[in-house]
Point group: C2
């Protein structure tokens, strides 16, 4: 009756780093696709919820927890894994830029951050998963506060605008952006300023609802 299917979760882990949207990939050490880059992922444990499985994989690969994680889609073509029948529940996660730096040291060899425009060939159907995750992220910028999940505790409006510009791959009008984002009522001034180099200091903001992604308008 059960037809003996293996179930895994794979995660598309996004962050913003070096002015670019990056994805975490892992170089496979075993067959199949040995040596190819792949999404982090792993088998569902016996008594584990699928969200927990994804969270566990995320923690194992990046050390981070408590970040935004959302189920994306389930991929189950019978031939997607040459080893046998493997259904994978794909997730995507968003990690604030700061947290990534902390992890830069781990495992240096087998793990890498890649820009969307310099992706290597991927194992399995991971390119399809990644493409779908990217489309979802871009779409969600327009009707949710998902972008805030990339921000550190405190950030400037220019920082936040940069996230939108990097993901959208096009410039955003500064005044309209500020009007819009302040009008949302989801961020507030911390009262502090960031001064850097020889320029006018920028006001710092924080998100009011740290780990909620709101649907807007």
């Amino acid at each position: 009756m059960s037809s003996n299917v293996s179930v895994t979760t794979d995660i598309v882990i996004f962050t913003i780093r070096d002015e670019a949207l990056k994805i975490l990939l892992i170089r496979r050490g075993a067959k199949p696709y040995k040596g190819r880059w792949a999404l982090p992922g792993g088998f569902l444990h016996a008594e584990e919820d699928i969200d927990d499985c994804a969270r566990r994989e995320l923690r194992e690969e990046t050390g981070v927890s408590g970040v935004y994680l959302e189920q994306l889609y389930t991929f189950g073509h019978p031939k997607r894994d040459p080893r046998g029948r493997v259904v994978t529940i794909a997730y995507y996660a968003l990690i604030p830029s700061e947290r990534v730096q902390l992890q830069a040291a781990t495992d240096a060899e087998a793990v890498g951050w890649f820009s969307m425009d310099e992706l290597p060939r991927l194992a399995f159907d991971h390119d399809a998963i990644l493409t779908m995750a990217h489309e979802r992220l871009v779409a969600k910028l327009n009707y949710s506060t998902i972008a805030f999940q990339f921000m550190p505790e405190q950030f400037t409006l220019s920082d936040l605008q940069a996230v939108y510009e990097i993901i959208r791959q096009e410039p955003v009008d500064k005044r309209n952006f500020r009007k819009w984002v302040l009008g949302l009522g989801h961020i507030e001034e911390t009262g502090e300023e960031r001064r850097e180099g020889t320029m006018r200091p920028a006001r710092l903001y924080r998100t009011k609802y740290r780990d909620t992604v709101a649907i807007i308008k």
Copy 2:
């Protein structure tokens, strides 16, 4: 390694009938939850794609094929099925009103169409699945042509408007609706009219892109 998980698909089948949005449920004949109503669904076959599995279930329960079917979400809480570990990939399908009539005869006993506001208690976590499907459908009305999937070959603008009103559960302005829907450019006049009773005949329309759901604006 595979932890022996069973995989099923469950389907939320929507149609519009008797001025209401209805969902197809099946009365369970076996334990667990014997006698309770449940979503149609079944186990994934060995060499079957998951979409095909859902389509097969849909055809088995309703006799229809070639209708709109979309993957919804995957539910995998370890305790969601008392028999053991079952991960279910939930889908939802939209069936045009006309096609339903044809199936009214089948299996009369064990199958039933239920309005959203007169739902019985459901087996497993099927109420959560159904709620999510309903939310998705309502959301998609606003940014896609998904509602057209409920329409027969030919329909009037009033027919189409009724679909929006039934799903939204609120009246829609007739003139604004017509302006909007004609402006989309996704339907065209057939040239024919429907005359019924003692009223002015209504122009008939058809969708231009039969089995595509477009994302709009």
